[in-house]
């Protein structure tokens, strides 16, 4: 079976810092996603990518950059961390017409 791995699991950053989250999958899925999960707000799409080197903005892309240099990996960068920001970032992958497979998340805290 395949696996989707997010690193790091926990990330503590400082205000204004650029922070990078990584996601790797070995399902050979075409599409990969980054969602942000805040308590009481559900999941909001930040970026997704339908193939290598493709990037599509979601509803929450402002303040983030993404990179899909390989089919198996999808990185997300917080361009300037906001003080007291606390959220879980979830990576997912899928092939067209199939369900999402999610990673276990990166928990971000900005101090």
């Amino acid at each position: 079976g395949g696996i989707i791995t997010q690193t790091p699991k926990f990330l503590i950053g400082q205000e204004g810092q650029k922070l990078t989250l990584k996601c790797q999958q070995n399902f050979n899925h075409d599409t990969m996603y980054w969602y942000r999960q805040d308590s009481g707000k559900g999941l909001r799409l930040i970026y997704y990518s339908i193939t290598e080197n493709d990037l599509q903005k979601g509803d929450l892309s402002e303040g983030y950059d993404a990179s899909r240099e390989k089919k198996s990996s999808f990185s997300l960068t917080v361009t300037s961390a906001q003080k007291n920001e606390m959220a879980v970032f979830l990576c997912a992958s899928s092939i067209r017409g199939s369900d999402y497979t999610f990673g276990s998340g990166t928990r971000l805290l900005v101090i």
């Binding site: 599409t31 009481g40 909001r44 997704y48 339908i50 199939s98 999402y100 999610f102």
Partner: protein, 113 residues
């Protein structure tokens, strides 16, 4: 605006009870619907989906959901819950060919043993 709403933030039941978790969507033509479960500290796991055909779909662990076009709903049900069903449940909808899903805010289910 394409949205999905889950009206109940929290639901508490006793083990062995039946439960229904509600999901409503804004109608937009062709639609793909899914339910996911998230146990504490974990990522989301797929439960079931609907695109066409029989409006009642079966998922894992005894879960089922029923699509209703007239009510714009896709409620999740289980006849007899177990304490291990305690988790957050997310309804998701896509209008763009089973990708780029919009997720609801989630319903936290607590099952009391």
């Amino acid at each position: 605006t394409q949205t999905v709403s889950q009206s109940d933030a929290h639901v508490t039941v006793f083990e062995g009870d039946s439960v229904e978790l509600r999901c409503n969507y804004s109608y937009g033509g062709s639609i793909y619907l899914s339910w996911y479960i998230q146990h504490h500290g974990r990522g989301l796991q797929f439960l079931l989906k609907y695109y066409s055909g029989n409006p009642v779909v079966q998922g894992v662990n005894g879960f089922e959901a029923e699509f209703s076009k007239s009510d714009s709903s896709f409620h999740l049900r289980k006849a007899s819950v177990h304490w291990s069903d305690s988790a957050v449940y997310f309804c998701a909808v896509s209008y763009t060919g089973y990708q780029n899903f919009y997720f609801g805010k989630g319903t936290s289910l607590t099952v009391i043993p």
